[in-house]
Subunit: 86 residues, 5 copies
């Protein structure tokens, strides 16, 4: 998983049916000190994350496991909101 | 998923049968401000994307889920066209 | 697998139910000489690793194999503590 | 998928039985203008590609789908020869 | 697959049971001319590779296919020893 900050939202009317009802957020990966690190990604939200939230997200085949359809073509999903880093 | 811009099309007559009827586009990944970021990839089109369109695409094992054959050897697929980024 | 050092712990109360009881550590990848190399990741702990330990971790689809639920959305898991590198 | 150019061939007599009969080529990834981009990889050939050919190849779990054995430990496979890029 | 050179061995007494009997080597990826390229990885050995050998290894989900247990949490495995590169 990676730490990240929600920095935007993607609006798309023309897309695959299977992802029609999923919220897509732009996430900037962060390091342990919450500094930007690496490339932005578009991730599905499963925890009601909002603009500016520090989150952690999972990538790859596992990213579709939390979704209603296991074979959703999704490769990045926000699965938690970070309270603090010790 | 990643944001990207369609920048070209790959023409190939000699290829695996299972991908014979798939349209292959070249996509330049973009950041949130639509600036080029990272390396171009060749992605299958499922949403009738055209040259210059801003799209988002999925990579990895999940990329073949939207295709007729689940075991298609495809690792990048365009699954939506971006209207705007908030 | 990669070598890494445990550098922190992620605290998150709002997260997916399926990962509610998993300990999430921040790991800095290391090279053979234990120098930092590449980007930090958040990994699940399965071997009671602690702050400062040199560990090795697995990434990708395989990262969820050691967990109770095979379809846990986890993409990095610590699977051993390093004694020495010859 | 990525564009690439075949730049060499790997000869190995001691290898896993399941890959004993597969041709392994070295491929240099290319950008849209056929300039080298990123790191060389060793890919299995399924389309009779030869030295200097411009090809496209698939990576990851999907790379083994075109092979006789679905559980072949292969992570990069050449699946087409490029005629032109528009 | 990638070319690499065996540069070390990882010793770990505290690790997951399912990987208890696997030999873990450190591999430095190489380019076609056998120059170091990219980051070291820890890979399981299946071909009796030794210190200094030029090998090729597979990464990702496929890395566990050559192992006795298909669901071993392994993401990099050495599958051959290179005789020469043409």
């Amino acid at each position: 998983m990676q730490l990240g900050r929600v920095t935007g939202k993607v609006v798309a009317t023309r897309k695959l049916d299977s992802i029609a009802n999923l919220k897509m957020l732009i996430v900037q990966p962060l390091d342990q000190d919450k500094r930007p690190m690496g490339k932005e990604t578009v991730a599905i939200d499963t925890v009601q994350a909002g603009q500016g939230d520090t989150v952690f997200f999972v990538t790859g085949r596992e990213a579709s496991f939390p979704l209603p359809e296991a074979f959703n073509p999704v490769d990045a999903t926000i699965i938690g909101i970070v309270d603090s880093i010790d």
